[in-house]
């Protein structure tokens, strides 16, 4: 078989553009899913039973569905539910954010629960409100403990964004596949895609390892 690597260079614009979309999807998803996860975790651990139940239902729903199904679901169901047709990027983003928020909620819940009860009591004894104690004392400690887990989620998310290509979001996977079907250069395009994902993912994974060592188990 004769390989033609020139095709990769010829379609560099599509690849670069797709890579930027993938990176943007990852970043914006996390920007939504970190506060989202904290909010869900606080609701779950709070004293209001309806809020706790709502949070638990949300988390269990999205955590136990395959992401690709949530992506399709967002594409077909959200327009009916919301009455607006969102563009593919926003739809894919919504699906990813729902899924990752659910995961982050469990991460933060574990992180918050791991902070000793005495820490909250010490804050309350100073006259802080429950909210002040959470913000000033509990969350900063929880955040340090969950940082390595969040970083792992980030790396998974970076690769999982490829699933939104099924609804024609122009991410790296989608663009590479499109070039493949136009040129029939299957091996070249898949290899190029692998090199880009790996080249960007590996440093992130190394960063996670470093975060584990730096913040992992320390008390």
């Amino acid at each position: 078989m004769k390989l033609d690597w020139w095709v990769v260079w010829q379609h560099r614009d599509a690849l670069v553009e797709g890579t930027l979309v993938t990176v943007a999807l990852t970043m914006v998803t996390m920007l939504i899913a970190v506060p989202g996860g904290i909010m869900l975790a606080v609701m779950r651990l709070g004293r209001s039973r309806p809020l706790a139940l709502a949070s638990a239902s949300f988390v269990e729903f999205f955590r136990n569905l395959p992401l690709i199904l949530v992506v399709y679901w967002a594409y077909y169901v959200m327009p009916i539910l919301l009455g607006v047709q969102l563009d593919a990027f926003t739809t894919g983003l919504a699906a990813l954010a729902l899924n990752v928020s659910a995961y982050n909620a469990e991460t933060f819940r574990a992180g918050i629960a791991s902070v000793r009860k005495g820490q909250t009591e010490a804050a309350l004894a100073l006259g802080m409100s429950r909210w002040q104690a959470l913000r000033e004392v509990v969350l900063p400690q929880a955040a340090r403990r969950v940082l390595p887990v969040l970083a792992s989620t980030w790396v998974s998310l970076f690769k999982d964004t490829s699933l939104v290509s099924v609804i024609a979001v122009g991410d790296l996977a989608y663009n590479a596949m499109r070039v493949r079907s136009q040129t029939f250069r299957v091996l070249e395009m898949l290899t190029a895609m692998a090199v880009i994902y790996w080249g960007l993912g590996y440093p992130q994974a190394k960063l996670v390892d470093w975060l584990h060592r730096r913040f992992g188990v320390r008390e």
Binding site: R116, G118, Q119, E121, A122, A123, L124, A125, L126, G127, M128, S129, R130, Q132, E136, V137, P140, Q141, R144, E219
Partner: protein, 260 residues
């Protein structure tokens, strides 16, 4: 030099009962932690609560600042019953300092930040003012050189001294100590007790749950002996330690090795 906040108010004319306990009850499941406890604390008084583990001393202290809610009876602070809801309890807690057995310093904050956080968050003091306050209080507990240290890098005794300074930063009217030296290595107990003794000499009102009998003997104005959720005897330390009226007090004291 910064003004060190006044710790403890001078004895005032009129009603000077800071804390009054009237038939306080607290139950945890089947366990009766407090079975009708009545006593009081006067302004400027140092009261030590002693007795076997599980006899209710710590529970009474935790009920005092609302970390536990009594199931019966009432507690009056400065003449007014403690409010039952959390929000109304906050202004009361500001006026009480609490020191825990396990220190509970905030591990992500330096010694100075631990002291400054209460005034900054709760009282809304500005940064410069809280820093000066923190430095003055660190000097007071003999830890000026540890301002930038994190709790993990301090000894137990040093951590507990920072915790005392943190409580003092709120300028409390009464200090509650919950077994402040029980988690310490023997060689660092003395430095914490010295800080507490100095505080007592300044006239601070203090309620101290302790197993340090020599501290209670030397520093307390009054000693309250607990057993099974009840007060079995209370009085001046020389009476309690030398001529206890109740047999069980004598038995407890000899059991923990105290000899008059």
């Amino acid at each position: 030099m910064t003004r060190i906040p006044p710790t403890g108010s001078p004895a005032q004319a009129g009603p000077d009962l800071v804390l009054q306990y009237r038939g306080v009850r607290k139950v945890f499941g089947d366990f009766v932690a407090l079975d009708g406890v009545s006593t009081q604390v006067r302004r400027g008084e140092v009261v030590c609560l002693i007795g076997p583990s599980g006899s209710g001393k710590s529970t009474l202290l935790r009920c005092t600042n609302g970390l536990e809610k009594p199931d019966g009876g009432e507690i009056l602070f400065d003449g007014a019953p403690l409010p039952s809801d959390e929000a109304a309890m906050r202004p009361v807690r500001r006026r009480m300092g609490m020191v825990f057995q396990s220190f509970e310093l905030f591990p992500h904050k330096t010694a100075l930040e631990n002291i400054a956080v209460g005034p900054r968050i709760v009282l809304g003091f500005e940064e410069r003012k809280t820093r000066e306050l923190g430095e003055a209080l660190l000097a007071k507990v003999g830890l000026s050189d540890k301002a930038a240290s994190y709790p993990a890098n301090l000894s137990g005794g040093q951590q507990q001294r920072v915790a005392i300074a943190r409580a003092l930063a709120m300028e409390p009217e009464v200090m509650l100590f919950d077994e402040p030296t029980s988690a310490l290595d023997p060689e660092t107990i003395g430095e914490v007790l010295n800080v507490m003794k100095a505080l007592a000499e300044e006239g601070m009102t203090m309620v101290v749950v302790t197993h340090e009998m020599s501290f209670a003997r030397r520093v307390a104005d009054r000693v309250v002996v607990f057993e099974k959720g009840r007060i079995i005897e209370e009085g001046p330390p020389e009476e309690i330690f030398e001529r206890p009226k109740v047999d069980r007090t004598g038995e407890f004291l000899s059991h923990i090795g105290w000899s008059a």
